[in-house]
Symmetry: C2
Subunit: 196 residues, 2 copies
DNA sequence: TTGAAATACGAACGTCCGTTTTGTACTATC
DNA sequence: GATAGTACAAAACGGACGTTCGTATTTCAA
């Protein structure tokens, strides 16, 4: 098997497993069994577990960007692009892009106290970029006069994220559909009362 | 050492460790070292890891009730009691009642895909009870005419929880104080626009 | 003082972990 | 067709895991 395709297939599987078991709970032996390889074969591509974790976070970021971030830039800037982001996130979750739900929220809350895991910084960095993106979209919508001028874009991002986090909790309770309904209602309400 | 005091000291330490490392990441050897006992000594009190996890969840629930739930019933029912709950939750988190943040949110998102862990149901049950409590407090406030009659108490609980979840994410990003400020603002805004 | 129960230690079991080393197919180049 | 290099398997390493068991210590009642 060609080097790159093998590496990619390992990574794709490892990302899914990490989203379920956690980034720290990921095991080389488990990944090896899942892709029908030996542990040694995995270690040939990733010299250490930490390097595998780092590559998994980077791959998960690519998947997230491809599913949620990149598509919205085909839409016109401002409120419409902001709405596209919220829609894309709900699709991203309901489509089970990651088997374990939201890879980055899981990883952030798993690792936030584990100072020994190298990938922790990368996860926090990706998460921060996502929140900055929401904030930036809000700023654009304000500048275009589509959202209230006195709106705090940081708080807007906080509240929008809150709806998404709520879905994840409802999902953990086995009430995913109710969670989506509540989150859509909350998001729409947030946008409505933020409108200029 | 007396049986009960030993068991309690093991549990108290195990709860803190589980809030940091995760309920699944908890190890008997680690707990043993933390309380300066042998692994065998731990196993004498908890015949299996699953039984330790179950006891940890139950102990964590007691701690949570003691810190957040019970105190609010000294306040008059309705809006005041509801405000007391939000305040108590912020204190509960900022006081690091659990070293790892919010034990139950961590555990819920850790275990929601791990169907093999027995404690998963107990965690979800406790979480559901908390959300039901918020909803019930909202219903009472509505009945007393303090919150809008057309308010959906379930959505109110969803949005209030969203603020609390947001703090946990901000905490994971190393911006705990900003998270508290945003959450307080969001919670106050939620209460203001829900007022009758 | 003796006997029994409670309590915890310490060693060992088998399994899985991450990692390293060795062996072996295949592939491409000369 | 010999050679070099890649891609992976297989096995072994020390260590940590959960669990079990035998034994020592303590506690208390008879």
């Amino acid at each position: 098997m060609a080097r790159d395709s093998s590496r990619e297939s390992i990574l794709d599987r490892a990302v899914q497993m990490a989203s379920v078991q956690g980034l720290d709970g990921l095991s080389i032996g488990g990944v090896a069994a899942a892709v029908a390889m030996s542990k040694g074969g995995i270690c040939a591509h990733f010299p250490s577990k930490a390097s595998l974790q780092a590559a998994v976070v980077e791959r998960a970021a690519e998947i997230f960007r491809g599913a949620v971030v990149d598509p919205i830039f085909t839409r016109p800037p401002g409120l419409e692009r902001l709405r596209a982001l919220t829609d894309a996130w709900f699709v991203y979750l309901s489509a089970e892009t990651f088997e374990g739900g939201c890879f980055f929220t899981n990883a952030l809350l798993e690792l936030d106290n584990l100072h020994g895991v190298e990938a922790r910084g990368a996860v926090a960095g990706q998460y921060g970029r996502y929140l900055d993106l929401i904030e930036r979209l809000a700023v654009e919508a304000i500048a275009r006069g589509e959202l209230r001028a006195d709106l705090d874009p940081r708080r807007f991002a906080f509240e929008l994220l809150g709806s998404q986090l709520g879905v994840l909790v409802w999902r953990g309770l086995g009430k995913t559909e109710e969670g989506f309904a509540l989150a859509r209602a909350a998001s729409n309400d947030l946008l409505a009362r933020s409108a200029a």
